[in-house]
């Protein structure tokens, strides 16, 4: 506050006095706490009911997919297992090298596996 502002302080003080003269008497509002509580309870009830309804709808919708099959596993699990066992990578043929059968089986004497013999060896 500076001395220069004295005129403004005086003008506002006059307005303040006039406002104070016409101020309404002090009265505290009626508490709304019980109403708040009721409202929060009813709100919780609505939210709870909505959640329960959503769960029921979800259960009904997912039930056919989750129903166990005759083999004891669920339809979804069976589908997943089948797809994993039958799936082959696109580069699988690269592993099919010549002479792969030799590595898989037990060699038999006298049996040819199609390996070319070098000329001059019989």
């Amino acid at each position: 506050m500076t001395g220069d502002d004295r005129d403004l302080y005086d003008a506002f003080a006059e307005a303040r006095r006039e406002d104070a003269e016409h101020a309404p008497p002090m009265s505290f509002p009626a508490r709304r706490r019980p109403e708040h509580r009721r409202r929060s309870w009813s709100g919780a009830l609505v939210v709870g009911t909505a959640c329960a309804a959503a769960l029921v709808v979800a259960a009904v919708w997912l039930r056919p997919a989750l129903r166990p099959s005759d083999h004891g596993s669920t339809g979804l699990q069976e589908q997943a297992v089948v797809s994993i066992t039958t799936w082959k990578p696109a580069t699988d043929f690269l592993l099919d090298t010549p002479g792969r059968a030799l590595l898989r089986g037990v060699p038999v004497i006298g049996e040819s596996h199609g390996v070319a013999r070098a000329p001059g060896h019989g």
Binding site: L8, F12, A15, R16, E18, P29
Partner: protein, 175 residues
């Protein structure tokens, strides 16, 4: 602070609070009374809790300011949504209450008109400092803005207020 102490403090600050509420509502008396009741309810219901970081008056004025801002927002939304079709509000409802204007002295009326021409923040800080005798720091806390910003608004508002008051005095002299 228990309920009884709080009520005693609110009663002590009631006149100043009403003054602040009036200025937050552009001197619409009915609206100011509603605003004050809503603010008291928030305080007594502990929706707004005093943490002791500032004086009780500064904190209470902050509660009143925020409540007024929320009320104005609701009114604006309502006006946007409904007033296009339902013009229920009488014309000139946004103007100051004629009853309160009639009670004002000539000087106060001139002052209110000049203050009304300021921006919202200038109006608030000028009111809080000159009318409520708060410091600029306390006013910044009520307004929830940095002290430097409050000081800038205060200086500009004060300068503009002087210009407006000087202009009105010239008009009166001519009239």
């Amino acid at each position: 602070m228990d309920d009884t102490e709080l009520q005693v403090e609110l009663a002590r600050l009631h006149s100043a609070s009403f003054g602040w509420a009036l200025w937050c509502c552009d001197h619409r008396r009915d609206e100011a009374e509603d605003l004050l009741q809503t603010a008291y309810l928030k305080v007594l219901d502990r929706s707004a809790t005093f943490d002791g970081r500032s004086s009780l008056r500064t904190w209470l004025f902050g509660v009143i300011r925020r409540t007024a801002a929320a009320q104005h927002r609701r009114q604006r939304v309502r006006a946007l949504l409904f007033d296009r079709w339902l013009s229920t509000e009488p014309a000139g409802a946004s103007a100051a209450d004629p009853e309160s204007i009639a009670c004002d002295s000539e000087r106060s009326r001139t002052l209110r008109q000049a203050v009304a021409a300021l921006s919202t923040r200038q109006r608030q800080v000028v009111h809080l400092v000159f009318y409520q005798d708060l410091t600029v720091e306390e006013a910044s806390r009520v307004m929830n803005i940095p002290v430097g910003t409050a000081r800038t608004h205060f200086d500009r508002g004060k300068r503009r207020l002087r210009e407006l008051l000087a202009g009105q005095e010239v008009d009166h002299d001519r009239g």
